[in-house]
């Protein structure tokens, strides 16, 4: 081992530039992998922290299967059950505080939200222990009174006797602080306690609770009690606290797998680069290796030597990559974090390093490097001692690549067939197959592409162009590998750009469709659900009564489960909603669907849900509700802009009130009468809104601009990532070019000796590099188009109905990037080549 370490280290040190470049590739891959994956958990954690209520220290918590509120009459059923010692009903919900009510003050939990918990004063203290620092607990005669935790009191600068104002379905609720709780910070959430009827009013859920907390008698079997409770209450209940934020979590999980994909792709490129480098290393050192064999190094020693070298680079690269990844994540979080904070009213903390991410990044980073070193190491092992005896010549490849090319062709055909016949899953596989196919076929492409572009270059620099072309074609495999890593980079760029272009086009039309109204009354957080607090009928009535308002309609919210997966339900008015806003339908048509909806028990689902649950119009969905399982008929597949990413179903508001106990308006859409101007109507709306501070008034045009701005910002993060993915391609090129120059020092010296000028040598290197990048770009564009078609298809299948837009910009950008990369990659090597000292070059060993 010692000898391998010594030699490996010395060889690496002896070729610093190359070591830096190859290691950089690993650093880059690990940075992406680790950084991106540290971001997702950071987001998830924030969500959990902000949205999920903690269960508290009770023996059993009962909530409805669908996480919706249920009738408090359910409590009556519990009195007969054996084993229960105490129980109490609770209504609890997160409420986002608008800035006017001090929402921005709350910096600690990150979210400007409090959890409002309504407790039954008679029974609450029997079940949970509320220890007070100051004041008293709620008493039977209290109405708008509250006890708040110390932490919140400190932040909001409240003391007993003060008034705490929170949004309410009636507008605002002014709560008198009667006591301060000594809840530990570990409880995390800012949970305030109010009398149950008050909570029911604030949340517009009369007679409803959503959790029953239960203490059992000592010595009884908890599981037995749970099952007798559940059998008594029926199938609509479950044991466990209510869970919110699930829909978003699943969207984030999807994001997480995307991030892994990105990281692995970057690492795969790094793998190519390392493979390429070590192949050259082995070729370059054949004589050294032969000599080592001659003086008694065993085959395993030789193999070990190369492996140790790649291991060193893998370890250094991965280590640096982890550090850079962390920094990258910090940067991303502060960038994306802003968008998130604006969109969801959730602040995102620091990168979260999960052990899975850490171990995965290390294993993949080191693993890819070592595996990429393995094959060259094996060929090093096969170097015979006799190689030491022969004079070295620059390596020329005579091997035929035809067999591989045929395999490549077969794979390409298969993948195209897969595209024609297959569904999305097969399409994904065929994307990979296509990539492999093109990599296999690449060495054969080298010659024609080099000849074609060589002609172009030759027309500018006749002599150098020809030389460069010859240099490139004498080692088609290496050229192909370099070009392949560039190809992967560019292909991904093009595919992503195509996707972005397509989404951008789609986005515009959703925005127009979904926000076709003049005004929006928006809750604090754009993504519905979570901590948004709706308004009761009062708001919409007052708005309708304003002179100059033509129509107003609202969206309501509930959640349900179908076959175990969460479904967000949006309640719309089937008569007014399609007139004012409407949905984008991918199956079924608007008129029929809403007509069916107004008859009741009909649902329109969005694409995300339809795909994941294989639902089509005409199917019957069994939705879990607080009143048991309800059957709804699917009457169409369509979506609005706000809920495109989350599994969503649209039902009528009357169905929602009946089955899901939800009658709060979360978002209001308002149209002006054409004969009125904005100046006349807006002030009237604003004065109504004043009494409902959770809502903000937005005029659609400015909202659209704002949304486009946010979208552009999100896209710019995307573009950044796209560009970062192209960087390894540049590294690969620079790497190959400098290897080429080092390897041909002798030849270059000879050329100089026989009269080539420095400029000519430089041009030769540049020409070769540009040829190489032309090859990479050509393949990249081919694969990129294929991939982008796949991607767009895949997106439209999961719910965004997106048309394929030919990524003209992406292709032009790629060609420019390819050319620029070709030139940049050759800069240092070209200077090196030009500065070759003739005598030294001829002595070079």
């Amino acid at each position: 081992m010692r000898i391998q370490l010594l030699l490996a280290w010395r060889y690496l040190w002896g070729r610093k530039q190359r070591m830096v470049l190859t290691t950089l590739a690993v650093v880059f891959g690990v940075t992406l992998l680790f950084g991106l994956n540290a971001m997702i958990p950071a987001m998830m954690e924030s969500f959990r922290y902000n949205m999920v209520t903690t269960a508290g220290k009770v023996d059993i918590s009962i909530s409805s299967e669908s996480n919706n509120p249920f009738d408090q009459s359910a409590l009556n059923d519990l009195s007969e059950i054996n084993g229960i010692s105490q129980y109490t009903g609770i209504l609890t919900k997160n409420v986002v505080l608008p800035e006017s009510l001090g929402g921005s003050v709350n910096k600690l939990t990150g979210a400007s939200a409090v959890t409002v918990t309504g407790v039954d004063i008679a029974t609450a203290q029997k079940v949970r222990n509320y220890s007070l620092n100051e004041g008293r607990f709620l008493e039977v005669n209290d109405t708008y009174a509250t006890v708040i935790p110390q932490l919140l009191a400190d932040k909001m600068e409240l003391k007993t006797g003060d008034t705490f104002v929170i949004p309410s379905s009636e507008g605002v609720a002014k709560l008198k602080v009667v006591g301060i709780l000594s809840l530990s910070a570990a409880a995390g959430l800012d949970e305030i306690f109010v009398p149950l009827p008050v909570a029911q009013t604030i949340l517009n859920l009369p007679e409803k609770i959503n959790t029953i907390d239960i203490l059992i008698k000592s010595g009884v079997n908890r599981d037995k009690v749970v099952s007798s409770i559940l059998s008594k209450l029926g199938p609509n209940f479950k044991s466990g606290a209510i869970q919110t934020g699930e829909e978003l979590s699943s969207a984030l999980l999807m994001g997480e797998s995307m991030m892994w994909l990105f990281g692995i792709m970057a690492l795969a490129m790094a793998g190519f680069i390392i493979f390429n480098t070590f192949r050259t290393v082995v070729a370059e050192r054949r004589r050294d290796l032969g000599m080592l064999r001659a003086i008694g190094a065993s085959k395993h020693t030789i193999m070990g030597l190369i492996m140790v070298e790649s291991l060193i680079q893998g370890i250094i690269g991965t280590g640096l990559g982890l550090v850079c990844g962390y920094l990258f994540c910090l940067g991303l979080l502060s960038g994306v974090g802003n968008i998130f904070a604006g969109l969801l009213r959730v602040t995102i903390g620091t990168p979260v390093i999960t052990s899975a991410n850490l171990i995965g990044s290390i294993l993949l980073g080191v693993g890819f490097t070592v595996v990429s070193g393995y094959f060259p190491a094996r060929s090093a092992m096969k170097v015979t001692p006799l190689e030491a005896m022969r004079p070295t010549l620059a390596i020329v490849e005579y091997r035929q690549n035809n067999r591989r090319a045929i395999w490549g062709l077969i794979l390409l055909t298969l993948s195209v067939l897969g595209l024609v016949f297959g569904d999305v899953k097969i399409a994904g596989v065929s994307g990979v197959i296509f990539l492999v196919g093109i990599i296999l076929i690449a060495p054969v492409l080298v010659k024609p592409v080099a000849v074609f572009f060589g002609k172009l270059i030759s027309s500018i620099y006749p002599r150098e162009g020809r030389l460069a072309q010859g240099n490139l074609t004498r080692q088609p495999s290496r050229a192909a590998i370099t070009a392949s890593s560039m190809m992967i980079g560019l292909a991904i760029c093009i595919a992503l750009m195509a996707m972005i272009t397509s989404i951008e086009h789609g986005f515009m039309s959703y925005l127009d469709k979904s926000l076709g109204t003049d005004y929006l009354l928006m809750p604090p957080s754009l993504v519905l659900g979570g901590g948004n607090l709706g308004a009761n009928q009062g708001l919409i009535e007052r708005i309708k009564s304003i002179d100059g308002v033509k129509e107003a309609t609202s969206l309501r919210l509930a959640t349900s489960q179908v076959d175990g997966s969460t479904l967000q339900l949006i309640g719309v008015d089937p008569l007014v909603y399609p007139k004012i806003a409407g949905l984008e339908f991918s199956e079924g048509n608007s008129d029929k669907a809403f007509k069916a909806m107004s008859k009741g028990s009909a649902i329109i689902v969005n694409g995300v849900f339809a795909i994941t649950n294989r639902v089509k119009p005409g199917d019957i969905l069994a939705l879990k509700s607080p009143h048991g399982v309800k059957n709804y008929t699917v009457v169409g597949i369509g979506f609005d802009y706000l809920n495109a990413k989350i599994a969503t179903g649209y039902i009528s508001q009357s169905d929602m009130a009946r089955d899901f106990n939800s009658e709060s308006d979360l978002l209001l859409l308002v149209n002006r009468k054409p004969e009125f101007t904005a100046e006349e109507v807006t002030p009237a709306l604003q004065s109504v809104i004043k009494d409902f501070p959770t809502f903000s008034l937005i005029d659609s045009n400015s909202f659209k601009t704002e949304q486009m701005g946010m979208f552009k910002m999100a896209m710019s993060v995307f573009y950044l990532m796209v560009i970062m993915l192209a960087v390894p391609g540049l590294i690969a090129m620079a790497n190959t070019m400098s290897i080429n120059v080092i390897e041909r020092t002798r030849e270059i010296g000879m050329l100089r000796a026989v009269g080539a000028t420095q400029t000519q040598v430089k041009r030769m290197v540049f020409a070769e590099s540009v040829l190489l990048s032309a090859l990479g770009t050509t393949m990249g564009i081919l694969v990129g188009l294929f991939l982008s078609y796949l991607l767009v298809k895949a997106i439209s299948v999961i719910g965004f109905k997106t048309d394929f837009y030919f990524p003209t910009m992406g292709i032009i950008a790629s060609m420019v990037v390819g050319l620029v990369f070709g030139i940049i990659a050759a800069m240092v090597p070209a200077r090196q080549a030009a500065n070759t000292v003739i005598v030294e070059a001829l002595q070079y060993e």
Partner: protein, 245 residues
């Protein structure tokens, strides 16, 4: 027991039309402490003979015995070990590892054999000193002249106390003065250290340092002469012989 014994050794490259018989049933016995030079026209099989004796290549037929054991039947691993312990190689192109300094290059066979680094280094610098490279131990090959590089290579060949030193045109890449120095160094190794040296050369002046000259032609031994005159006489005699053959 002879140090090297070659029996009916043949080596054939290729087959059919491109078949080349590089060695044709060669028999040789070389005793310990002999300095043997192999001469002959280009392509006569000199290098091939050296490779087979050094266990770098396998014969088509016949066998090579090193201190009585048949190396043509050995596994790759035992051959490797044999090369490491019993043989030293000197190549025409010096073949030093460019990224290691002179001491490290010299110590390579010992390090490969698992000898402690300190011991390996001290042995290596002893040999470098013996070969008049004192103070050059920290220099990398590109900082040394061709002759110096070759003396590092000789030090490397000697460092593991091998029985046999094999050298293929060790002076082929050097000017005549450096060439003489190398030949003299090899001579010393035989006289002072009683090693067996087998050297391929086409230069009569260099061959004249040897005790015995073997002439090859078309893969066959055509002449086998012991030298006992002065260096100058020997060189003259050899030159005539080369011309006559």
């Amino acid at each position: 027991m002879a140090t090297i014994e070659v029996k009916n050794l043949s080596k054939v490259y290729g087959s059919g039309e491109t078949k080349v018989t590089a060695l044709d049933a060669v028999n040789l016995i070389i005793e310990q402490g002999q300095f043997v030079a192999v001469m002959g026209p280009s392509g006569c099989g000199k290098s091939t003979l050296l490779h087979l004796i050094g266990g770098l290549d396998r014969p088509t037929s016949g066998s090579v015995f090193i201190e009585g054991s048949d190396i043509s039947k050995m596994s790759d691993n035992s051959l490797t070990e044999l090369r490491r312990r019993k043989m030293g190689f000197i190549f025409q192109f010096f073949n030093l590892i460019p990224v290691l300094d002179a001491i490290e290059n010299t110590a390579l066979p010992l390090i490969l054999d698992g000898v402690k680094p300190e011991l390996a280094r001290s042995k290596a610098s002893e040999w470098l000193n013996r070969n008049r490279l004192d103070g050059r131990g920290k220099h990398r090959p590109d900082e040394l002249s061709g002759g110096q590089q070759q003396r590092v290579a000789i030090s490397r060949a000697m460092v593991s106390d091998p029985v046999i030193i094999l050298a293929d045109e060790p002076t082929g890449n050097l000017d005549s003065r450096s060439g003489d120095e190398i030949a003299a160094t090899l001579r010393k190794i035989v006289t002072d250290w009683k090693r067996t040296v087998l050297m391929v050369t086409h230069d009569p002046r260099i061959a004249a340092y040897a005790d015995r000259i073997i002439f090859l032609k078309d893969g066959k031994v055509v002449d086998d002469t012991l030298l006992n005159g002065s260096n100058g006489d020997n060189a003259k005699r050899l030159k005539e012989k080369v011309e006559s053959l």
